[in-house]
């Protein structure tokens, strides 16, 4: 197992996926390293969602290889992805509004203790709450003060933080985020982008799908562009301009007014 930080955590080679006659992915390569935020951008229908779903195990590729930590793997379903350490935070977040933050973080994997067996074992509420506070502190999430409040009272950014913290809590190595800043205000966006960076600082690999190039340039280390199901270039953030990325997204034509701010 390579211990070097730059060795790829996830490597996709020649991924193909068709829905009937529609070729959603036409041989896509992708690489994410530990401690790196990779932004996945592209126009609608470029294949971003299909690619993420392939990694997340929501569906399997027709062709191509997936290497995770250097080994070829088959991500046959969401469960298999979770076992590998791949967590996906979808746009709808999949959290229960009526439960508090602690309950949401541990949902389905509650810490329990004796005496009864099976699902009748008692919840270790205090222990779960303590672990929740630790994880939130590690992620520098200071907005969730009362972890015993129902999630329904939280803002969009806070809810995103809950969903991300859940991925961290379960020791995920790679986190996929689908449009994490969509529909968030300025301050909330700041918070979520900060959260994404702190995931990378913890040594996780992060893939962020986003339409918002200004967000992408603030958070990503590298930017991979998809166009019509093919790779259309990979940019190192520090060495590129938004215009280059826009050109790659649109296929070389620089549209007036499409400049990212």
């Amino acid at each position: 197992m390579p211990a070097v930080n730059s060795a790829p955590l996830l490597r996709l080679e020649g991924i193909r996926k068709s829905y009937g006659a529609v070729h959603a992915l036409n041989g896509v390569d992708l690489e994410v390293r530990r401690g790196e935020v990779l932004a996945l951008v592209g126009d609608n229908g470029a294949g971003k969602s299909t690619l993420v779903k392939t990694i997340a195990g929501a569906h399997t590729a027709d062709e191509g290889r997936i290497l995770f930590e250097g080994d070829e793997v088959r991500v046959s379903g969401p469960q298999a992805a979770a076992e590998l350490g791949i967590a996906t935070v979808y746009q709808d977040l999949a959290i229960c509004d009526n439960l508090d933050v602690v309950a949401n973080l541990f949902l389905g994997r509650e810490q329990v203790k004796a005496p009864l067996a099976g699902r009748l074992r008692r919840l270790s509420n205090a222990a779960m709450e303590q672990r929740t506070r630790e994880v939130l502190a590690e992620l520098s999430v200071t907005t969730l003060r009362d972890v015993r409040r129902p999630v329904s009272g939280l803002s969009g950014g806070q809810r995103q933080a809950v969903a991300v913290a859940r991925a961290v809590l379960w020791g995920s190595k790679l986190v996929l985020l689908d449009e994490p800043t969509a529909a968030l205000g300025v301050e909330q966006t700041d918070m979520v982008l900060g959260l994404v960076r702190s995931l990378a600082e913890r040594g996780l690999g992060v893939i962020v799908i986003s339409h918002n190039l200004s967000d992408v340039f603030r958070v990503a280390d590298r930017i991979a562009v998809l166009r019509l199901g093919r790779n259309a270039g990979t940019f190192v953030r520090a060495e590129s301009e938004p215009d280059d990325v826009v050109a790659a997204i649109t296929g070389g034509r620089l549209l007036s007014g499409a400049k990212a701010s």
Partner: protein
């Protein structure tokens, strides 16, 4: 990247002004307070209108009156928690009552066997309905509406042309007609209170050990003393008549067990999760379908027990047992007690308090010699009022949280 500033209002009590404090109070989970206030008001009004209302004798009767609806409402609240509805529980109770009566009176089964069989029949019926709803994907409203009709049909068939079957069994008659000796009532109270105090202390210690925030000590002391004082009052008062009815022990015992199940266990957490967002629960690995079927079976088993209580109250089963507005009253009780019809909200013992509200209104109006038409109108008005208050407070909370 820097940590982010708080965008939620500060919740450190010391720094809150009066307005913020009121706001926080509005946000808080009021628990049983609204239904207790409502109950106190109803009792006050009836006592002022008729001085016999708060006598030991009448309150003892009230406990017996609350039995069937109360037991049924415990099952209803479980079903509501997972965001489902079960319209069949009333006639299911009636069918199970008929099963017990037929086995005891016509077939001479031993008491325990007849009771166990009836509860098993109830649970099996619930299993069937839950299974159809989950596996076929028919909404529980429709499946249990079918059940409502079918179980009533079975009940009528079992009772035959006579339409009524008497039950002479001493044990069954005793369920709603026997009382604890004074010493046993006090002993049970002491044991229950000691258990509750130990639980409060252990929870506090667990949090202190992990250096988590704890409630102010005064809260915990109040949480210990209030139920003890209230329990002592109830036992002392009911001792002034025949004593504490066994039925009260059964009701409280089952609701404590279900309360622990829903709030303290992994299964209970999953019930709330399913009621809150079924798809999110499923993605988190909760075995949603299995648990839904289980809840329908459990509620139906409790309905069978409610049927037993009905038999015990009437010494007989008739075609009307479990019918009429019984189930609707049980649903009303759960909702008055704070359960949400949309799932994910509710507490078991508060449903029992809701049932007490409904029984109190009926009992009080009976004392005043009012016809049942008045009772129906009053119960309906109280239900709508209770749900309206709940809806308003919820909307406020949601508006403040957003």
């Amino acid at each position: 990247m820097s940590a982010v500033r708080a965008d939620a209002p500060g919740r450190d009590g010391a720094r809150l002004g009066l307005a913020a404090r009121l706001g926080a109070a509005r946000d808080a989970d009021w628990g049983p307070v609204p239904v207790l206030i409502g109950l106190a008001l109803i009792w006050l009004v009836f006592q002022l209108l008729n001085e016999n209302f708060l006598t030991a004798r009448n309150l003892s009767n009230l406990v017996l009156q609350v039995g069937v609806v109360g037991m049924l409402s415990l099952g209803v609240v479980l079903v509501l928690l997972i965001g489902e509805i079960d319209l069949s529980l009333g006639t299911l109770a009636g069918m199970c009552a008929a099963v017990v009566a037929v086995l005891l009176t016509n077939h001479g089964w031993p008491t325990w066997a007849a009771i166990a069989f009836a509860i098993a029949v109830g649970a099996a019926a619930g299993l069937l309905q839950g299974g159809i709803s989950v596996l076929v994907g028919v909404p529980s409203f429709v499946v249990t509406l079918g059940g409502f009709l079918a179980w009533q049909g079975v009940q009528l068939t079992l009772l035959g042309n006579a339409g009524e079957l008497r039950v002479e069994d001493e044990f069954v008659r005793g369920i709603a007609n026997s009382y604890l000796p004074s010493w046993l009532a006090w002993l049970l109270l002491v044991v229950a209170v000691a258990g509750w105090w130990a639980d409060v202390a252990l929870r506090r210690r667990a949090r202190t050990r992990l250096s988590l925030t704890t409630r102010p000590l005064s809260h915990d002391v109040a949480a210990c003393l209030a139920p003890a004082a209230f329990g002592a009052l109830v036992v002392a008062y009911l001792d002034g008549y025949f004593g504490v009815p066994w039925l009260l022990v059964v009701l409280i015992g089952i609701s404590v067990a279900l309360g622990a199940l829903t709030t303290r266990t992994q299964l209970g957490r999953h019930l709330f999760a399913i009621g809150g967002d079924r798809e999110a629960a499923r993605r988190a690995g909760v075995r949603v379908d299995q648990i839904r079927v289980l809840v329908f079976a459990l509620a139906a088993g409790l309905a069978a027990v409610a049927g037993l209580i009905a038999v015990s109250r009437q010494f007989a089963v008739s075609t009307g047992t479990g019918g009429g507005t019984l189930l609707l009253e049980a649903i009303a009780a759960a909702v008055i007690g704070g359960a949400s019809l949309f799932g994910g909200q509710g507490r078991v013992y508060q449903a029992l308090l809701g049932a007490l509200v409904i029984a109190s209104v009926e009992n009080g109006l009976d004392l005043l010699g009012k016809p049942s038409s008045t009772k129906d109108i009053a119960t309906g008005a109280i239900l709508v009022a209770a749900v309206s208050i709940d809806a308003i407070s919820r909307r406020r909370r949601a508006a403040r949280g957003a």
